[in-house]
């Protein structure tokens, strides 16, 4: 048995990792929808979902069930192959894009097969990521074209145009980081940001303390805006602008296919957030200098109170969820917090993941926050902004960075 494992570890381990990742990502996506609705509701002074389970925590489950059990109609005169493929393309590419993202510093060996946190650790991971995002447009475009519907077609057209336009800015905005890191490998990029003992100051965003580093704050803004546009989120969600195009490219989609688009969108949001974290915010690096050992307890200091609050909050509810689930989770969190304090190795193991997740979470929150706040662009504004502002600025950033690097090198 075990020698079998050892022999085929190069297959088994990645499969396991993929399974875990998919599971986690799907859950995260589901609860992102919940989070989004909650946050926006509160921004708009509403309650948001709170019927299904405490704080409506069961809402994503309910939605999922609904998606699964809804009828899946095939509209007349659609281009069947394209119509069928499109959602898969969208979801698959979004998922794939996560495959090259390293979630943590650690490498661990399982059955004699060494692997890292993250599915694949290729040394041109960034290029691969861009390749995948480049293909991402097809999902939307095909869906819009295939469903043989004016609104969808317009949505598809818009999205393809928009994606082509902003992809340039997206790619160019990270060139600065590449120049500093001198590598396409995300892992190396992160590690290079941690070289000096300055904490968050040495992240690419600010770029202090690195040999040839230079602040990439311009690059970051270009990247973030372009990324939002790539993921068709507010304020760039013209492909699915409800007010103009009903639901844009996925007007004709229902049930699971629609869900795929949905999940795909959130997944790409996650991916982009991860990317932003890695490129500009030091990935899994803690914002504090490594010398400040006490900051190792920040996770537990977050977990323990949160867990206790959950236990306390849970007992208000007379139903099973309130009585059991919430307190249970609360207890687990508390215990983990305490455990981290007691067992430093475990703490050490968890640090990177913790900071990474935290940063990504913040990005997601910003996404939602923006959706809650910003109005939608007009189409021509979108285009002219992309071509006449974003692209030149990112190019200027590239020139500036390379100039500084050249100057620093000599």
């Amino acid at each position: 048995m075990s020698e079998f494992l050892h022999q085929y570890a190069f297959l088994i381990v990645p499969i396991i990792k993929v399974a875990i990742l998919v599971l986690v990502v799907l859950t995260v996506d589901a609860y992102l929808t919940w989070l989004e609705r909650k946050v926006i509701a509160h921004i708009q002074a509403r309650w948001g979902p709170h019927r299904v389970g405490p704080h409506g925590l069961m809402q994503p489950l309910a939605d999922g069930l609904k998606f699964i059990f809804k009828e899946d109609p095939m509209p007349a005169n659609v281009d069947k192959p394209a119509y069928f493929i499109a959602p898969f393309v969208a979801l698959m590419l979004a998922m794939t894009s996560l495959a090259v993202i390293p979630f943590g510093p650690q490498k661990f060996t399982l059955w004699g097969y060494e692997s890292s946190l993250g599915i694949a650790d290729v040394n041109i991971s960034l290029l691969v990521l861009f390749a995948i995002t480049a293909l991402g447009v097809y999902g939307v475009a095909l869906a819009g074209w295939a469903s043989n519907n004016k609104y969808s077609l317009l949505g598809g057209l818009r999205s393809s145009a928009q994606m082509i336009s902003y992809e340039l800015a997206l790619t160019l905005s990270v060139v600065g980081v590449l120049l500093i890191a001198g590598s396409f490998s995300l892992r190396e990029i992160v590690e290079q940001q941690g070289t000096s003992n300055l904490g968050f100051l040495s992240w690419n965003l600010l770029g202090f303390g690195q040999g040839i580093g230079f602040t990439q704050i311009i690059g970051f803004f270009c990247f973030f805006i372009a990324a939002i546009a790539e993921t068709n989120r507010v304020p760039f969600d013209l492909p699915e602008a409800e007010s103009e195009l009903v639901a844009g490219f996925h007007t004709e989609y229902a049930s699971m296919k629609f869900a795929m688009f949905f999940i795909g969108e959130y997944t790409s949001m996650v991916a982009v957030s991860c990317l932003a974290t890695i490129l500009f915010f030091g990935g899994w690096l803690s914002p504090f200098p490594a010398s400040w050992t006490f900051t190792y307890y920040v996770p537990s200091l977050l977990f323990i109170p949160f867990g206790l609050w959950m236990i306390y909050d849970g007992i208000h509810y007379e139903n099973i969820f309130g009585r059991i689930v919430l307190p249970g989770i609360g207890t687990v969190l508390t215990v983990v917090g305490i455990a981290l304090i007691l067992f430093p190795p475990a703490n050490h193991l968890l640090q990177g993941l913790f900071w990474f997740v935290l940063k990504v979470f913040i990005f997601m929150f910003v996404y939602i926050w923006m959706r809650g706040t910003l109005p939608r662009f007009r189409y021509d504004q979108l285009m002219s902004f992309g071509w006449k502002f974003l692209l030149p600025v990112s190019i200027a950033n590239v020139v500036l960075t390379s100039a500084v690097i050249l100057w620093r090198m000599h």
Partner: protein
Amino acid sequence: MNASLAIFFVLAAVAVAAAVSLILQRHPIHSALSLIVVMVALAGLYLLMGAEFVAAVQIIVYGGAVMVLFVFVIMLLNAGEEEHTNFSKLAAYAGIPMAVAVAGLIAAAITRSTLPPAQDPTALTSTKSLSMLLFQDFVYPFELTSFLILVAILGAIVLAQREGN
């Protein structure tokens, strides 16, 4: 029959099949999709050969830009099924045989020729060395291509804008 050979054959089969479907599909967008598949398969082959940068560029530029342009234009013109006219008798009768003949000639020439076997295809071409080559030995062609692109942009703009504005 080691793994890389298997992968090669799979990818090659995919590429050829997609190319054939490009021919057989009646609707341009299906042809476009087939072509995208071909390109992805080729990118896979490049990876197999260890030319990872080329593979990435292949997908980014071809898959992500050129083909998107194609799809975009197809949508814009709302191109329908192509009609099978045969105004050119020459093309109707001599076309495909000629193409086959050319391909046959090339293939025959290849089978006849003796090339050095690929030296350790898994050896990655480091992006650094590639860029060294590109920016030192081939810098003038590189600049020329940039100029070419500029011209192409202007041309495209001039062509595509409607009369009047």
